[in-house]
C-alpha cells in the first residue's frame, strides 16, 4: 500500500518535471529555474563529496547547468531527466578527477561563522575532549582514508561515490557511465578491496 502511494507520488513528480522541461524548452526561464532547483542540491553534494573543494564544486555546478541550459532542446525524454543530468555531471567530475589525479586531495573544508573548518578535524576535536588516544586513532584513520581514496582510479572513485554516498543502483551507475552493470560491479569490488587494504587494522 505504502509502496503504491510512493509510486503514485513518484509518477506525479515525474510528470511535473516533464512539464517543466517542456516549458523550459519553449524558453520559459521560470520553468528552467524550477527544474534547476529540483535537482541542484544533489548535484552540488555529489561534486562537493567527490572533489572536496567548494571552489571546484561551484565550478562543476555552473558548468553542468549551463550545459543543460544550452542543450535542453536536445533532451528527447528517452531517459529520465535525472539520468541525463547525472551523465553530464559525472562526466565533468570525472574530467576534473583525472586532471587532479596527481595533486594531493583537498580536505573537506566547511565554512562556518567562525571561518573555514575541516569537518574531519572538527570530529577529532570533539573526540579529543573524551579520549586523546581516540583522537590519534581518528587522525591515522583519516590519513589512511585520504590515501585510500587517492589510490582509486577516477572511475572507481565515481562508482564508489555514486553507490555508497548517492545510493544509486549499480545498473543505473553503469548506464550513467556508459558501461555495463558488470563493469560497475567490478569497479566497486576493486575500490572496496583497495580501501580495505589501505585502511588495514584501522577498521
Amino acid at each position: 500500500m505504502a509502496q503504491d502511494a510512493a509510486g503514485a507520488v513518484g509518477a506525479r513528480l515525474s510528470l511535473q518535471i516533464d512539464s517543466l522541461i517542456r516549458a523550459a524548452q519553449r524558453g520559459d526561464q521560470d520553468a528552467f529555474e524550477q527544474l534547476v532547483r529540483a535537482h541542484d542540491q544533489s548535484v552540488l553534494r555529489l561534486a562537493m563529496n567527490l572533489l572536496r573543494s567548494t571552489e571546484d564544486a561551484r565550478d562543476v555546478y555552473q558548468e553542468a547547468f549551463l550545459r543543460v541550459y544550452r542543450s535542453l532542446d536536445s533532451f528527447r525524454f528517452d531517459c529520465s531527466f535525472q539520468t541525463w543530468l547525472y551523465r553530464i555531471v559525472t562526466n565533468i567530475c570525472l574530467d576534473r578527477l583525472r586532471k587532479r589525479k596527481v595533486r594531493k586531495e583537498e580536505s573537506a573544508v566547511v565554512e562556518t561563522s567562525h571561518g573555514p573548518v575541516d569537518r574531519m578535524e572538527a570530529l577529532q576535536e570533539e573526540a579529543a575532549h573524551a579520549n586523546p588516544e581516540r583522537t590519534l586513532w581518528n587522525r591515522e584513520l583519516k590519513r589512511r582514508m585520504e590515501n585510500a581514496l587517492q589510490d582509486l582510479t577516477p572511475r572507481e572513485r565515481m562508482v564508489f561515490e555514486l553507490r555508497h554516498y548517492q545510493g544509486l543502483r549499480l545498473r543505473n551507475i553503469g548506464d550513467l557511465l556508459g558501461t555495463t552493470e558488470e563493469a560497475a560491479k567490478n569497479c566497486l569490488f576493486r575500490a572496496t578491496r583497495k580501501m580495505r587494504a589501505e585502511l588495514g587494522d584501522c577498521i
Binding site: M48, T54, L66, R70, E111, L123, H164, L170, K185, L188
Partner: protein
C-alpha cells in the same frame, strides 16, 4: 560457495546488489564460516568510517551557485535555438553561410574576440604570458557576490574582481597558440569562431588538429563547426579526420555542416565512404544534402540504396 567467491560478493551483498538466490547462498556460507563473517564485519566498519567522511555543504554555497548560474544566463549564455523555419529557408541560409565563409560576421566577431581573449588571458594560468606584450593598465571589473548584514549597522559585501589584460603576439608564438587552444573551449561562440579561424593556419600541429576535430564533433555552434571544417581541409586525407567526419555526417543537425562534410569527404577518393553516404541518403531529410549525396554516389559508380 568458496571463501574466495564470497570475498568478491561481500561488497555487493552489503550494498544489496545480489540476486535473492545469491544472497541466500552467501548468508548460508556466513553462518558456517567465521573468517568470512569477520570479512563482512570489516566491510561494515569500512562503510561506517567512510560515512563520517561525507562532506557537508557549506550553508551559503547553494545560494552562491544559484546566483552564479543566474548571472551567467542573464549575461547571455548561448542557448541552442531550434530553427522554426522551413527546410527551404534553412537551406538557403545554410548555403549562404557556407559560401560567404562567415565574412559578414568577421569584423564584429574580431572585435569581441580581442576583448574576450583579454579577459580569458587574465584567468588563464596554464600559459606563460609574454610579459612584454601585456598592456600595463588593467581595468578591474567587480561583481557583488553576496551582501550580509552583520548587525549594529555594519554590512559585509563579498566582491569578485576580474582583471582584464590584453595579450598580443604572433599567431605562431607557442604561448599565443596555447591561449588560442584554450579559447576554443570558452563559452562565448564568437571567441571560439575567431580562435578556430586563427588556429587553422597550423593544422600540421597535432594539438591544433585535435582541437579542430573536437570543435567539429562537439561545438554547439554551427558557425564554429563550419570554421573548424574549413581548417580541416588540408587534412581531409587523414584517416582519423575522415573517421570523425563520417560520424559528424550522420549526427550533425545542421544541413550546411553536412554539405561541407560531404565536400571534404569526397575530395579524397575513398570507397569505404560509400556505406556512410548510403546511410545518409536513407535518413537525410534535407533534399539538397540528399541530392548531393546521390550525385556523389553515382559519380563513384556506387548504388544509392542499401540492400
Amino acid at each position: 560457495m568458496t571463501c574466495d567467491s564470497v570475498a568478491r560478493l561481500i561488497p555487493l551483498y552489503f550494498y544489496g546488489e545480489l540476486m535473492p538466490e545469491e544472497e541466500d547462498q552467501l548468508e548460508e556460507h556466513l553462518h558456517a564460516c567465521a573468517a568470512c563473517t569477520r570479512e563482512m564485519e570489516r566491510q561494515r566498519a569500512l562503510a561506517a568510517a567512510l560515512d563520517r567522511r561525507h562532506a557537508e555543504l557549506p550553508p551559503t554555497l547553494l545560494d552562491a551557485c544559484r546566483a552564479d548560474l543566474q548571472a551567467a544566463i542573464q549575461g547571455g549564455a548561448p542557448r541552442y535555438e531550434k530553427p522554426a523555419k522551413g527546410p527551404w529557408t534553412l537551406f538557403l541560409e545554410a548555403l549562404a553561410a557556407t559560401l560567404a565563409g562567415f565574412h559578414r560576421y568577421r569584423t564584429p566577431v574580431g572585435a569581441v574576440a580581442l576583448v574576450a581573449l583579454g579577459f580569458f588571458a587574465a584567468r588563464f594560468t596554464g600559459a606563460r604570458l609574454p610579459a612584454s606584450s601585456l598592456s600595463p593598465a588593467g581595468e578591474v571589473f567587480s561583481t557583488v557576490r553576496s551582501v550580509e548584514a552583520e548587525g549594529s549597522g555594519r554590512v559585509q559585501i563579498a566582491v569578485d574582481e576580474t582583471r582584464r589584460r590584453v595579450v598580443s603576439g604572433p599567431t605562431g608564438d607557442r604561448d599565443i597558440q596555447r591561449l588560442l587552444l584554450a579559447a576554443v573551449r570558452e563559452d562565448n561562440p564568437a571567441v571560439r569562431v575567431e580562435s578556430v579561424d586563427l588556429l587553422r593556419s597550423r593544422p600540421d600541429s597535432g594539438e591544433v588538429r585535435d582541437a579542430l576535430l573536437n570543435a567539429v564533433a562537439h561545438d554547439s555552434n554551427a558557425g564554429v563547426r563550419l570554421e573548424a571544417l574549413d581548417g580541416l581541409k588540408p587534412l581531409a586525407g587523414d584517416p582519423q579526420v575522415r573517421k570523425t567526419l563520417a560520424r559528424v555526417l550522420l549526427a550533425d543537425d545542421n544541413p550546411a555542416v553536412r554539405m561541407q562534410v560531404v565536400d571534404l569527404l569526397v575530395s579524397h577518393r575513398d570507397d569505404s565512404m560509400v556505406g556512410v553516404l548510403q546511410n545518409l541518403v536513407q535518413k537525410e531529410d534535407n533534399n539538397y544534402v540528399r541530392l548531393k549525396c546521390e550525385k556523389v554516389l553515382r559519380d563513384m559508380n556506387a548504388s544509392i540504396g542499401t540492400f
